[in-house]
């Protein structure tokens, strides 16, 4: 019989090898699914994994990977700090929306003034919007002992209604003859967030994501706060003995993740999305939860996980357009990839042993 035996420490080899094995397994099983759907599996898999990186239009799509991965990484890193400390913010989607609304509202209030300080102020406002939205579950948790999972999740739906109000009401483009949607930031240079190098896909959001990933890495490795976060998650009682105040940690971690989600929203709405509209949010706040765990809650792992997710989105989209694959098949394929990535990960910490009990 097969059983698992815990390794004394995580295997260095498997830390790097598991993603490769998982991708290979996904290709086999996903390929079978594509075959059942009447597609050429080699073709589909090449379109998903190869073409965005090295195909004919890779010069365009590589940049798009950054556009897609940027917000995922930014949000996931914030979430990972809380998850490590055992704080469950699953409402990043709402914080993302509120960051976008508050930041955009500040920018649009200045329209059409051109001033180089407008964008920085919007960035602060965006972070504030996300932070404030996250403070609601944080303070309800610390003051009134209300479960943060429920509150943060419910506030996503509230934020969505506010977003609809913003796009059909208080942020609606006054020159849009009654149609929903705000002004487009690409027509307002002082408040816009364009590509920093044309064609690179890199905008301030991507830059911030890279910076935040490094900062989070340093924080967790070198700073006392990082130590407290890890300790609070692993051994809450020991943490208290070490002077960690749980309430402060909750407010801090929720605040950081909310602010980063708000930033992601602000960068998205001023850059790639371009405007506040009813459906401008596309679920980054939820996908980022997967990215956080896929990256093993490690900042550098999260960057890689974010890029892999972005690759499957863009490659999957290409497979759907070019090969006529139903977009549902792409979704199922993504799910499979995640299953394998999560399942194979067991090899990092465990050995597989054949035979009876030792």
């Amino acid at each position: 019989m097969i059983r698992l035996e815990r390794r004394a420490s995580a295997s260095r080899f498997w830390v790097w090898a598991t993603p490769v094995v998982a991708v290979a397994l996904t290709m086999i099983f996903g390929g079978l699914m594509f075959l059942l759907l009447g597609k050429n599996p080699v073709e589909v898999i090449r379109t998903i994994f190869w073409d965005p990186l090295f195909g004919e239009f890779a010069w365009y799509l590589r940049g798009q990977l950054l556009v897609k991965a940027g917000p995922l990484v930014l949000i996931a890193i914030g979430l990972s700090l809380g998850f490590r400390a055992g704080i469950w913010n699953i409402g990043a989607e709402g914080q993302y929306i509120m960051g976008a609304i508050v930041g955009a509202a500040v920018g649009l209030a200045f329209f059409p003034t051109e001033n180089r300080w407008i964008f920085p102020v919007m960035v602060i406002a965006g972070a504030f919007g996300g932070w404030a939205w996250a403070m609601i579950p944080a303070l309800l948790k610390t003051r009134l002992n209300t479960n943060e999972i429920l509150v943060s999740l419910m506030l996503v739906y509230v934020a969505q209604v506010i977003l609809a109000m913003a796009s059909t009401g208080f942020l609606r483009n006054p020159e849009g003859s009654g149609f929903p949607g705000s002004r487009n930031f690409s027509n307002y240079p002082a408040a816009g967030n364009p590509e920093l190098i044309a064609g690179s896909g890199l905008h301030w959001g991507g830059v911030t994501a890279i910076f935040v990933a490094i900062a989070a890495y340093v924080l967790l490795q070198r700073h006392i706060l990082g130590f407290q976060i890890k300790l609070a998650g692993q051994a809450p009682r020991a943490a208290r003995l070490h002077g960690v105040v749980p309430q402060r940690l909750i407010v801090l971690c929720m605040g950081i993740s909310g602010a980063l989600a708000g930033l992601a929203g602000l960068f998205e709405v001023t850059g790639p999305a371009g405007q506040i509209s009813i459906d401008f949010n596309v679920g980054y706040g939820f996908t980022a939860i997967i990215v956080a765990f896929l990256g093993r809650l490690n900042p550098l792992g999260i960057v890689l996980a974010g890029l892999i997710m972005a690759l499957t989105y863009i490659g999957g989209e290409m497979a759907a357009t070019n090969l006529g694959l139903p977009s549902a098949a792409v979704q199922a394929f993504q799910g499979m990839l995640l299953f394998f990535l999560l399942g194979v990960d067991v090899l990092t910490n465990y050995r597989i042993k054949l035979g009876g009990a030792a």
Partner: protein, 359 residues
């Protein structure tokens, strides 16, 4: 099913060519960006049905490509760019939310024609906007509603407060009122286009409040299914005929018919006669269809068909004065006919409708 498989294999062959050898020059590649899944039972499905008919019409002279479930914003811009890079000659973007992205991508590909549904921005000479006059269909169904209601309360499940939806509410109400001065309109905002359970809840709430005719500007058959359970309550098919609820509670329907337009525009690209325009076709051009009217008395059917025929003949416009705004101020004087500009961005209720438009 068979048609889809055939098409899919055609698309497969097509992409092999695109990535491999040079493409056949005489073929026009027409591409479509959808906001929902192709079988959503409503808006996107109506587009896709038209696309399949377009393919059938042109046979192998045209290659079709589509992408479903494309979110608005950055994702739609990427999909359009990929399509343009991939050799699409004309790209139809079928959701209002694609408006700015369509114009942004059009700027980068001046040789590709872009057609944006339901928007108003044409910032470049290679962008056209197109829409359908759904409010004309609402006028026909509003007439049925006014004559059929026993409780004198008709309900409207609205999605989002945008001009197209508000036109529909006003047109339905005005025409119900015309044949039944006692009629009252009840609007419920669902804040969704496609959430079956919520639409069912909304329909139930309307029925609980004594409504016996339900309009919907959302995609699913949930309201009709509820109407089917409640004797005396009727509704209308939306976007497609919803013939599975014939003859009642579905007594009529508004059918989105995009195929004539798609065939015309793709043909224009083939002929080299394509030009930027703003197209807003209605019943007359067949862009909006009224499904078979069933399960109502003959006089009701005749009255509704007369409204339909008058609109088609051009002798009647659904927004003809006197019409006042909700606050009592004059919108259209007696006999005055609204111009397109008067109601393209409609954001007010007409006199007699209670409640506020959320904004």
């Amino acid at each position: 099913m068979l048609r889809r498989t055939l098409l899919a294999s055609a698309a497969l062959g097509l992409s092999l060519m695109a990535t491999g050898s040079a493409m056949a020059q005489d073929k026009v590649k027409a591409c479509f960006v959808y906001v929902g899944p192709i079988n959503d039972g409503g808006w996107t499905q109506a587009h896709h049905v038209a696309v399949l008919k377009t393919q059938e019409h042109f046979g192998d002279k045209v290659e079709i490509m589509w992408q479903e479930n494309v979110p608005e914003g950055a994702d739609s811009e990427r999909v359009m760019t990929q399509m343009a890079l991939g050799g699409c000659k004309i790209i139809f973007t079928t959701s209002f939310g694609y408006m700015d992205a369509t114009n942004a991508v059009a700027a980068k590909f001046p040789d590709v024609k872009f057609e944006h549904a339901t928007g108003y921005k044409r910032e470049h000479p290679n962008v056209t906007t197109y829409n359908a006059r759904f409010y004309e269909g609402r006028a026909v169904n509003g007439t049925i509603a006014g004559m059929m209601t026993k409780s004198n309360k008709i309900g409207y499940i609205a999605s989002f407060p945008i001009p197209e939806v508000i036109q529909g509410i006003n047109s339905s109400y005005l025409h119900a009122k015309k044949v039944n001065p006692n009629v009252e309109m009840v609007v419920v905002w669902a804040f969704t286009w496609n959430d079956p359970a919520k639409e069912a809840d909304a329909a139930q709430a309307l029925i609980d409040q004594g409504v016996d005719v339900i309009f919907q500007h959302t995609d699913t058959t949930a309201p009709l299914a509820l109407a089917a359970k409640t004797p005396g309550v009727i509704g209308f098919g939306q976007a497609r005929d919803m013939e599975e609820y014939k003859p009642s509670p579905r007594v009529s329907s508004i059918i989105d018919n995009w195929e004539a337009y798609y065939i015309k525009r793709v043909q224009a690209v083939m002929d080299g006669t394509w030009e930027s325009q703003d197209s807003w076709d209605g019943l007359a051009a067949g862009a909006v269809g009224i499904g078979e009217i069933t399960g109502v008395p003959d006089d009701v059917k005749a009255a509704a068909e007369k409204v339909r025929d008058d609109i088609i003949a051009g002798t009647y416009h659904p927004f003809t004065g006197p019409i006042n705004k909700q606050d009592g101020s004059v919108w259209l004087a007696d006999g005055q006919v609204a111009t397109d500009g008067d109601f393209a961005g409609m954001n007010f209720y007409v006199e007699g409708i209670k409640g506020d438009i959320p904004q």
